[in-house]
């Protein structure tokens, strides 16, 4: 049985999943992606963006299941 506190503990995991999708996935518009670097590691390779993880998923070892919205 899953409880609300499980969702709270897993909030950071959801944020990382979201960042991975928004910054690393989706339709790639070759040659026209423009981004400034803030507090995440960003490497520009030609015209395509390669983004390293904000934190490693290693930190999520203690994570648990999240109830889908």
């Amino acid at each position: 049985m899953m409880h609300d506190n499980v969702i709270d503990r897993s909030k950071d995991i959801t944020i990382l999943e979201l960042l991975d999708r928004v910054l690393n996935k989706g339709v790639i518009l070759t040659g026209d992606i423009v981004i400034s670097v803030a507090d995440i590691d960003l490497v520009y390779l030609g015209v395509k963006l390669m983004l390293s993880s904000v934190e490693t998923m290693e930190q999520l070892k203690s994570g648990n299941k999240i109830i889908p919205k």
Partner: protein, 247 residues
């Protein structure tokens, strides 16, 4: 900046829906259309687009709002084009690809599943399951006992066998997931051993009305593997099921 590519059957209705939505900096959203495919965009200054957590969450919020009303393909964050004309030309050039991908994700949601392991527990499980392999290792150690390299070789041999066992174990979990989800007609993309502890990283695309079945199926699998941590997220727009780069 372009947020997403939509399938739009009735442009007047779509425009009416867009009027109630705004972009990540509060700008009004607009559409540029070619036949039944539209790009949703907001007028933003490139210099203002910083890739930080706050903006990424705002961007995802816009995509989520759009996904409530439309079948869509999310654009990667930071996709700019100069004018409506260049966007229309891009839609025309990539029309077939957009159509195929929109058709693939129609009425479907994406879910993510990451599986982590506690290495000590998992190794204990593997040893219990593979007593025969343990005996083989002992046998091999005996054979090379006289070598001056015995310690080194034995250590490497044990490590190699444990890695093989772990890979085989991960493959068996993946096979069970795929078999269990086959009844849900889900598309999947699965990577294994992403890190030593993240042994499986999977995404699924399945019909919106099958969310409960997915959760129940994953719960049932999880109950068979007490040594593994399952992290299921979603529903997401189909970020991971866009299989082409536009030109």
């Amino acid at each position: 900046m372009i947020y997403a590519i939509l399938s739009v059957q009735k442009p007047p209705e779509a425009n009416a829906l867009l009027e109630g939505l705004t972009g990540m900096s509060g700008e009004p959203l607009q559409m540029v259309s070619v036949n039944d495919i539209s790009a949703v965009l907001g007028d933003m200054n490139k210099a203002d687009l910083v890739a930080d957590k706050t903006n990424a969450i705002r961007f995802a919020g816009v995509i989520d709002q759009l996904a409530m009303h439309f079948t869509l393909l999310p654009m990667r964050y930071g996709s700019f084009m100069q004018s409506d004309d260049t966007i229309a030309a891009m839609l025309e050039r990539n029309y077939d690809g957009f159509q195929q991908n929109l058709h693939k994700v129609e009425n479907r949601h994406e879910f993510g599943l990451k599986i982590f392991c506690d290495s000590e527990i998992i190794m204990e499980e593997l040893r219990a399951r593979s007593r025969a392999d343990e005996r083989n290792i002992i046998h091999a150690e005996t054979e090379i006992k006289k070598s001056i390299y015995a310690d080194y070789v034995n250590q490497k041999l044990k490590l190699h066998r444990l890695e093989e066992m772990l890979l085989s174990y991960v493959d068996s979990v993946i096979a069970e997931i795929i078999q269990s989800l086959s009844k849900l007609n889900a598309n999947n993309k699965i990577r294994k051993m992403v890190t030593p502890s993240n042994i499986i990283d999977a995404v699924f695309l399945l019909e919106k009305n099958k969310k409960t079945e997915l959760v129940q199926t994953i719960e049932a699998i999880q109950s068979k593997y007490p040594g593994l941590k399952f992290v299921l997220t979603g529903p997401w727009p189909p970020y991971n099921f866009v299989d082409f780069a536009v030109t």
